[in-house]
């Protein structure tokens, strides 16, 4: 069971986050201010941390900086009501691993925490495999079983990212950031259109589907059972 430390001063927000994470079998510890948060982080050695940007006692970024200086590598998700792009850049530069602007959807938060906990290890594998789906990173070829899938470069990039994060919920915002490097949310629902095309190619009419949309949340690439 993964242990998550939440440092957040608004107790109602903290309560909802704690409840939601607990529902998904996380062990959640909560600290309401910066100084207590830093102490807990040192004592508990959590698997992941959720840190609010502005905290009483000690700034969220200062906590991360202190921990990083102590060579603590615990992945951190920074929460902030400051949505400014520069602020985001600063948060990530100082050692935050991901950054989420308030207000956020709870699924977005959960998806990102899960992504932090299951960051792909840096493998040197040149072929990604999920079930019978194979992606050759050198030859830039995709196969599902014996069927060859023709992918455009952009579709290849998307599938590669999804296979690296298989069985994880990937929200639209995460895909935009990671696959397209968009730092903004476009007006049109771009991700859905691209995903639709990819799904059309990956999941043949007679094959069990691998790409699933989760309503109102995002997408998952699952190994067919």
């Amino acid at each position: 069971m993964a242990r998550v430390l939440l440092i957040e001063d608004d107790w109602e927000t903290a309560e909802v986050i704690t409840a939601e994470l607990s529902d998904r079998n996380f062990e959640v510890e909560w600290a309401a201010d910066g100084i207590a948060g830093l102490e807990r982080a040192r004592a508990l050695r959590p698997d992941a941390m959720i840190v609010d940007r502005l905290l009483p006692g000690m700034d969220g970024l200062a906590i991360i900086e202190t921990l990083r200086n102590e060579l603590v590598r615990t992945p951190v998700l920074v929460l902030s009501a400051l949505g400014a792009v520069n602020d985001r850049v600063r948060g990530l530069r100082i050692g935050g691993d991901d950054y989420l602007t308030k207000p956020f959807a709870i699924v977005e938060l959960i998806a990102r925490v899960e992504a932090l906990l299951r960051r792909p290890s840096e493998t040197r594998e040149t072929t990604l495999c999920v079930g019978t789906l194979q992606l050759d990173l050198i030859e830039r070829r995709a196969k599902r079983g014996e069927r060859t899938i023709d992918l455009l470069p952009r579709e290849f990039r998307l599938l590669e990212y999804m296979m690296q994060h298989c069985d994880q919920l990937l929200t639209r915002a995460m895909l935009l950031e990671e696959v397209w490097h968009y730092k903004f949310v476009p007006a049109t629902n771009l991700v859905d259109v691209h995903m639709g095309r990819l799904r059309h190619k990956v999941d043949g009419p007679s094959e069990p589907p691998m790409i699933h949309s989760i309503r109102g949340s995002g997408f998952i690439l699952r190994t067919p059972s």
């Binding site: 949505g83 400014a84 792009v85 520069n86 850049v89 602007t101 207000p103 470069p153 952009r154 397209w180 968009y182 730092k183 903004f184 949310v185 476009p186 007006a187 049109t188 771009l190 259109v193 691209h194 639709g196 095309r197 109102g216």
Partner: protein, 479 residues
């Protein structure tokens, strides 16, 4: 006016006038002193020349003729300005109007000032004269001198002139100072009264001014111009405020109604969940408007140069094309791109992407099925041009200015989703870069971003602060 007096004496203008008057008086005194000095010097030099010529003439004569000449000269000098006398080697007077050789007078020296001692008890004052003494061939001493009393007379005249001229001048200065001070006080009191009314919210109030050349009027005209600008801005802000209120309240009201209805009427969990989902969508729309507004403010107010670097435009265009091609295809719109040039600009890649994505997004959104959207990158003159054209309705002549206004949504597209902030955002990004946005009128949409080639950091700042408009509304539609 008993109240007026102390205030007048305290006023800075009056103090300045006092200082000026004092300086004026000092200057006059120094000037007169200088004139006196020059005049005295001139008179001395002149009398020295006269007595030197005179003594030279007398020395050249024989002793008998010299005595006769001395006597003759004294006879012709009723004012007793001249001093001429001959003494024997022992200093006894032979002839002339001096009793003895003046004690300080050097024999055979140049002309000098010397004091003639009093001999006559009736004569109350000692005389100071310019004189020369020469010892002649026969051993006698010849003294020639000249009274320089004129200099004293002149100094008296000068002194009187100062007394007569200075006092009225000084008073005049003070009076002028007092008048100016009172006038300035009055105007400042008037202006501060009006400014207080403006501060209190009376935005129509303006400062009074007279002729254009007067400094006070110049200042008042500048301030009035500033007030005009502020008044326009405040009215514009009021408009934006209303727009924000409207655009935020509409989805929130919807969300509230849906939630209330869901709570009272939902007969199953699914129905309730459906209502909640709809409400969340409404809230999300409000939030997306807030996010867009904050972002707009961030871009407009920052000199966000941290993310600036070389941006290869062709590559960027390709990415946008890649991103939007499936969307266009879904709407049966042909999207093409021509970006063979390897052109790049200095800018923030993320922001430029956002601007271009916004334009392409709009173009696809407002182009009917079967239409075309074209992305082009070209170079023309000193500009790199990013052009987005479409076969949609375009922007009508009358609406070209309005489309840049926040929350402006043409009546024709009232029901198309969007925040109404897209083009404002594009304009803000373009302005931040020192580029220019050109909006051409319909039919058919055409928007261009003009990036001046080799825009240095300095140029960009100039372009940003310059008076040239960043947005051009093109009247002539290029074919």
């Amino acid at each position: 006016m008993p109240m007026r007096q102390p205030r007048l004496l305290r006023s800075t203008t009056f103090h300045t006038a006092l200082i000026v008057a004092a300086a004026f008086a000092l200057f006059i005194i120094v000037l007169f002193g200088f004139i006196y000095g020059r005049v005295e010097h001139y008179l001395t030099v002149r009398s020295d020349a006269v007595i030197t010529a005179h003594i030279d003439g007398l020395v050249g004569l024989s002793p008998e003729l010299r005595r006769a000449a001395v006597d003759e000269r004294l006879k012709q000098d009723p004012r007793e300005v001249q001093i001429v006398a001959i003494f024997d080697a022992d200093g006894r007077r032979i002839t002339g109007n001096l009793n003895r050789v003046p004690p300080g007078l050097r024999i055979d020296g140049p002309a000098q000032s010397t004091v003639i001692p009093k001999d006559d008890p009736k004569d109350s004052k000692t005389r100071v004269v310019r004189a020369i003494a020469r010892r002649m061939a026969d051993g006698n001493i010849l003294v020639v001198g000249r009274d320089v009393d004129e200099a004293k007379e002149i100094s008296m005249v000068v002194g009187e002139a100062i007394a007569l001229g200075l006092l009225p001048g000084f008073c005049l200065c003070l009076l002028a100072g007092a008048w100016l001070s009172m006038r300035a006080d009055k105007r400042i009191a008037d202006i501060s009264e009006r400014v207080q009314r403006i501060v209190a919210g009376e935005l129509r109030e303006r400062l009074p001014y007279g002729s254009d050349s007067e400094p006070f009027s110049k200042l008042a005209i500048i301030v009035n111009g500033m007030l005009d600008e502020m008044e326009t801005l405040i009215h514009a802000l009021e408009g934006v405020g209303n727009d924000i209120a409207h655009d935020l309240r509409t989805p929130l009201t919807r969300a509230r109604l849906i939630l209330e209805r869901g709570r009272d009427h939902a007969s199953s969990l699914e129905e309730l969940q459906g209502a909640v989902d709809k409400a969340v969508a409404g809230i999300d729309q409000s939030l997306s408007i807030i996010t867009a507004l904050l972002r707009l403010a961030e871009i407009e107010n920052s000199g966000r140069s941290a993310g600036f670097g070389e941006v290869v435009l062709g590559e960027m265009l390709r990415e946008i094309f890649d991103m939007y091609e499936p969307i266009a295809e879904g709407k049966d719109i042909t999207i093409t791109t021509s970006s063979s040039h390897s052109l790049s600009v200095y800018g923030d890649r993320d922001l430029l992407m956002e601007a271009l994505a916004n334009l392409v997004d709009n173009a696809i959104k407002f182009t009917p099925e079967g239409g075309r959207v074209e992305l082009a990158l070209l170079r023309s003159g000193g500009n790199i041009i990013l052009r987005v054209t479409d076969t949609g309705a375009g922007i009508a002549e009358a609406e070209r200015e309005s489309v840049l206004r926040r929350f402006y949504r043409s009546d024709k597209i009232r029901n198309t989703p969007g925040t109404g902030l897209g083009l404002s955002l594009v304009a803000a990004i373009v302005k931040l870069h020192g580029f220019r946005l050109f909006i051409y009128s319909g039919p058919g949409g055409r928007i261009e971003i003009h990036c001046p080639v080799k825009l240095s950091r300095h140029d960009r700042q100039q372009a940003r602060s310059g008076s040239e408009p960043d947005v051009r509304l093109m009247l002539d539609r290029a074919s």
